[in-house]
């Protein structure tokens, strides 16, 4: 049986990758995918804890997170499509209407 901390370390690595990608990438689709990556890294941690503590709460949380992620994907992709239509670019730095 794989020890729990392996899962946690993997989860942390995936989350870190998501953060780094979120911060450094300019492509709005990539940023969106890095958010998904972070969410799923957290899911992995939840499942690992669920297994380790022998409780089902973590798995229930995962289901909620997946539902929220799906909703978020629907809204987020809608925003992205509108942005692209308006600006003909996926570069996030061109979305700067509120900038001084």
């Amino acid at each position: 049986m794989v020890p729990t901390h392996y899962y946690l370390i993997l989860s942390a690595i995936l989350f870190g990758l998501g953060v780094v990608a979120f911060v450094f990438k300019r492509n709005i689709i990539t940023i969106f995918m890095s958010i998904e990556l972070m969410l799923n890294a957290v899911n992995l941690a939840f499942v690992a804890f669920s297994q380790a503590l022998n409780k089902l709460d973590g798995q229930v949380f995962v289901l909620f997170v997946i539902v929220v992620a799906a909703a978020e994907a629907a809204v987020g992709l809608g925003i992205i499509i509108m942005t692209v239509r308006n600006r003909q670019t996926l570069n996030v730095e061109s979305v700067n209407l509120l900038k001084l």
Partner: protein, 659 residues
Amino acid sequence: MSILNYLWIIPALPLLGSAINGLFGKKWPNKIVNTVAVGSTGLSFLAALEAVREFTRLAPENIPWVQQYFTWIIAGNFRAGFDLQIDHLTVVMLLVVTGVGWLIHIYSTGYMAHEGGYYRFFSYLNLFMFFMLILVLAANYVLLFVGWEGVGLSSYLLIGFYFLRKSAADAGKKAFIVNRIGDFGFMLGMFLLFKAFGTLDFVPLFAKAAPLPADALGHLGMFTVACLLLFMGACGKSAQLPLYVWLPDAMEGPTPVSALIHAATMVTAGVYVVARSHILFTHAPTAMFVVAVVGCATAFFAATIGLVQTDIKRVLAYSTVSQLGYMFLACGVGAFSAGIFHLMTHAFFKALLFLAAGSVIHAMGGEQDMQRMGGLGKKIRWTYLTMLTATLAIAGFPPFAGFFSKDTILFNAFKYKTFESDTAGLILYAVGLLTALLTSFYMFRLIFLTFKGKPRYDEKKVHVHESPWSMLGPLVMLALLSTIGGWLVLPAYFGGEDYFFRFLAPVFNAPEATAEPGGRSLEWILAGVAVLAATTGLAIAFSLYLRRPGKSDQLARSMRGLYNTLLNKYYVDEIYAALIVKPLLWISHNVLWQTVDVRAIDGTVNGLADGALGIGDGVRHTQSGNTRSYAVWVVIGALVIIAIIFWPSFRPTTIGVVR
């Protein structure tokens, strides 16, 4: 059902009239407005008469009759209530105020008939009556002060009645500000009295003060300081040196106002306060001496200015200041009832003089300069006769009212002893006598210039006409009072009792030097001298202005310096402007405005605002609008929170041991 239990009705009636006219009178025709105003004052007069009738039936132990209606201020052991009281002194004031006030209201209906702001005028006039009645009926200093300030307010409003004219607005402000100086002293006096006696109600305060020893002459004890402070207030309100400057300027108001407020009633409030506080003053001989000297000096000083003024109302204004000086002289030498007596007769004849002057101005179509009058006696006969009566009264010819009151004052001044000698009294008497001569002179000068001689106006342009009976009626009434008002003391000259002084005796409870045996011949001699002085004044005026009309100008030319000094009122206004007003303006402009306000206060506020703006400007650069930079802040924030949560228990070894 006795009105003595409902004393508040007397002041409440004019207040009601003022409120009705002030709130609703704007659209009403004049007839309704003056019905309300004259009616409310008339009812107040009737109520006062009824109160006096009931008062005379009170048992002596119930006097002063005090009614407490409600508690107004309570703080610690201090209580000031809406308490009214009536005693013999109040009776005199009450009848003078409501009676003369009512007559002047009637007169105003005629005088103001063609003026704008008719409802406003009567609303203010009624408001004045309300405050004046509060002043004379108050049973404590605090309520008295309410009336005191209230009449000041009404005076301000009425002086500035023609507020579109700058001089009128300025005169109103001047009156208000000069009075503030006196009121400052008055309030300090009240504080001191409260500190010393723990109450400001007249009855307990005077009861506590009476048995205390008097201050020694020349020492500043509590009584002396308190009395001097109260007298400072009286100086402001009653236009005494050095605070008299507002009264001549107050003539900018309509003439009935000059008659009611600035001659008959309000300006005598200072005399009333001194008389009301006579128990305090008799404990402070130094303060009494100051009162006498200031009164005497003012009487003389104002009379000299009155000699050369050419504006008919200004002559009367200085005459008022001068006569108020007589009243203070009387109070100062301890003859309080003589002062109140002169107050009463003065209210009659000075109100009459002003109203008659108003009638002259009315007849001349607004002209006030006596140099452009003359020969009016035949054209406005009633005005002339009534004004002549008042002039005889103020000049001190028997049997008119002024003779008796002025003579009593001079007699008391003559008998005044201070510093263990008669000298001070003799000097006061001499100055008072000289003032009587000057009074007679400037009053007859006024009469001759206005009513006698040849007309000096354009007879084609000015249509001289007698005033309506609504104006002449009050004139005749007042002329009657000016004639017989002094007869109350007439029996004293023939060894009988004088009713006025006996009436006031319970208040002042000191027998004054009017009826002492052996003094009778002295009294006759002094009266003769006074009449001689008045006659001399008349004779000089006659020779200068009637017999040889050019003579007065010749005299003025030969004494140009003196004449100009008098004409310019001793340059007192200019001196005050240079010594007080200009430095005050300079300090206000340069220190208070440009330094304190602009630099310190505005500087602090603007500095804070500028600082906030600068910080905001610096910090706004963190909000770049770059989404990913926000993400970095979120990550950093998350890391910080994790660090804070786990810091105390963070051990490298525990990482793997979650299980």
